[in-house]
């Protein structure tokens, strides 16, 4: 009871303002996405001629979404995005974890040299042009695998794995070794299954990178059937004349009540939805993963 009395008027006022401030922050964070959502569910022609829509759809319609799903170009791009995210993430997590496991073992001969080779890559790189010319020589231009091989490994992610692997009790590995398992087998049948929290963290980080990355395609591909949905949107959004591009691409849709802007809104929502639905469930993993990476790395 004494504690309660100590809460002065200033304290109570501070609490009120703090809560209000936080609510304002939440509003400012959510509103832009809400705006896109309501506009994607509004009749396109109406949105264009009737003034801005702020809170709820004025003329509810799902036609924008139908138009998007009927658009072959958008659907191909969506397929590329899903493929690169799934394949890229699985391979990245497996490969980076495997190298990290080898690096985590104290008896690894040359370990310090290997670590130094890796550390340098975090602070220095070749830059855009040498990379571009090298990928050209490797035959990666206009190849789906330009999304996969260059993103197979990351030394930064390796450090996060490393910190986690160090915590695994040696006894687990010893037992497998006595059973005659080799180091690779120990890695995938003993170490990987007990490392699911860090695997989930890295999978989320890399999955988001793969899903959101638009620039790899802009730089390294010219073939439009290889471009992911983010690149499609980038071309529509940043290279202006969006109405024309989407109008042309959506073919028959232009005679309907959809506009370039309204299709854009629907595409943005479809593109964003998977991540927005997934991340809150992975939250407890990535908070931990980030901590390990930053404090021990």
């Amino acid at each position: 009871m004494l504690k309660r009395n100590r809460r002065t008027l200033g304290d109570a006022l501070f609490d009120r303002f703090n809560v209000l401030g936080m609510l304002l922050i939440c509003f400012l964070t959510l509103y832009p996405i809400w705006y896109v959502l309501i506009n994607s569910f509004n009749d396109g022609k109406d949105a264009m001629s009737g003034g801005n829509i702020y809170w709820i759809p004025r003329m509810f319609s799902v036609e924008n979404y139908t138009a998007v799903f009927e658009n072959a170009g958008i659907m191909t791009a969506m397929g590329i995005t899903i493929a690169k995210t799934l394949i890229g993430t699985v391979l990245h997590v497996f490969f980076t974890a495997m190298v990290a496991y080898a690096f985590s073992r104290r008896e690894l001969i040359g370990r310090n040299v290997y670590m130094m080779i890796g550390t340098i890559t975090m602070f220095f790189g070749g830059g855009l042009i040498p990379t571009y010319l090298w990928y050209r020589d490797l035959g990666l231009l206009n190849d789906f695998f330009v999304y996969i091989w260059p993103a197979l490994f990351s030394f930064f992610d390796l450090i996060i794995f490393l910190a986690f692997f160090r915590e695994i009790p040696d006894g687990l590995e010893e037992a497998a070794k006595i059973d005659g398992a080799n180091d690779f087998k120990i890695f995938y049948s003993v170490v990987l299954p007990v490392s699911m929290p860090v695997v989930a963290t890295i999978a989320l980080f890399h999955g988001v990178y793969q899903w959101n990355d638009y620039f790899t395609a802009v730089i390294f591909t010219t073939d439009e059937t290889l471009q992911p949905i983010q690149t499609f949107l980038y071309k529509v959004i940043a290279q202006s004349s969006s109405t024309q591009i989407i109008g042309n691409m959506s073919g028959g849709a232009i005679t309907r009540r959809v506009t370039g802007q309204s299709i854009k809104m629907a595409t943005m929502i479809i593109t964003t939805l998977p991540i927005v639905l997934a991340y809150p469930f992975l939250q407890r993993y990535f908070v931990k993963g980030l901590m390990i990476g930053s404090l021990k790395g």
């Binding site: 200033g10 304290d11 501070f14 809560v19 936080m22 922050i25 939440c26 964070t29 832009p32 705006y35 896109v36 702020y54 980076t96 495997m98 190298v99 080898a102 690096f103 008896e107 690894l108 001969i109 040359g110 370990r111 040299v113 290997y114 080779i117 890559t121 602070f123 220095f124 790189g125 070749g126 830059g127 855009l128 042009i129 040498p130 990379t131 571009y132 010319l133 090298w134 030394f155 080799n182 180091d183 690779f184 988001v208 959101n212 990355d213 638009y214 620039f215 983010q230 949107l233 980038y234 959004i237 940043a238 202006s240 943005m268 593109t271 964003t272 809150p280 980030l290 930053s294 404090l295």
Partner: protein, 321 residues
Amino acid sequence: MSANLSAEASAQAAPAPKKNRKLLVRLANQKYLQAMALLGIAWMILFNYIPMYGIMLAFKEYIGIGDPANAPWAGWTHFQAIWEDDQMLDVVKNTLGISFLKLVIGFPIPIIFALFLNELRSLKFNRIVQTISYLPHFLSWVILGGILITFLSDVGIVNDILMGLKLIDEPITYLAEPEYFWTIAVSSDIWKEFGWNAIIYIAAIASISPELYEAATIDGAGRFQKMRFVTLPSIRGTISILFILAVGAMLNSNFDQIMVLKNQVNETSSQVIDTYVYQVGISQGRFSYSTAVGLVKSVIALILLLFANSVTKRLNQSSLF
């Protein structure tokens, strides 16, 4: 290559040939482990080190055909050309200006947010605010750029509000006016990342011993005094490390964002080194010149990192290296 290197290094440490044989036995015993590690090294050589070797283009005259290694040497001419490039002044000014503002304004905000979040009494509300604040981090710059272009257009919501409040008389197309670009770039970047960047601080604050707060309460410390004298000093190490990393990455942070928001009308205040390298290099095919521009950026970034590292080291004994 590096396997030989490390084997040699270890062999030098071992004086007798007997030990050399022992090393071979040890290597044979860990052949799977070595194979796993060397696959990683091979990847790094292929995708990090060979492009680094390509930096020599900056000192050559390469026009895009054939092996860059055979191109004639150009000495320092490309760097001299950078010095004489009319656009360079704007490019450097924009790069440093936007990066500097992002650092100065964007770095403290997550710390302040974490401090105030920690003061919320309801744990549940705290968690909800946190989760919401991460959301923008997961949106791509393409999506956010699309939203910004819509909001900031002449018929957009920003003009609606400002005209409704009678703050402006005529609608402004913000992204077509160079004078607004820095503000847009800096504030949208902060909007996107402040919640995400606060994660580590929130976790660091959560690990502070409650006894420290109890002791401070007994000593009669108020809310702000506890923030100032307990919470803040406890996360000082975390702040330093993240500050060094932020300075090191300072010049890298704006490529994705600026490519979306940049257009031909705002170019005088939106062209940064990265976008300039892309434009001159990939679009115009001036490979050697743009490599030189990129190299100048890398060198500046490295100097900034070392500088930040030494400053924080002097200030409070925590540093990266």
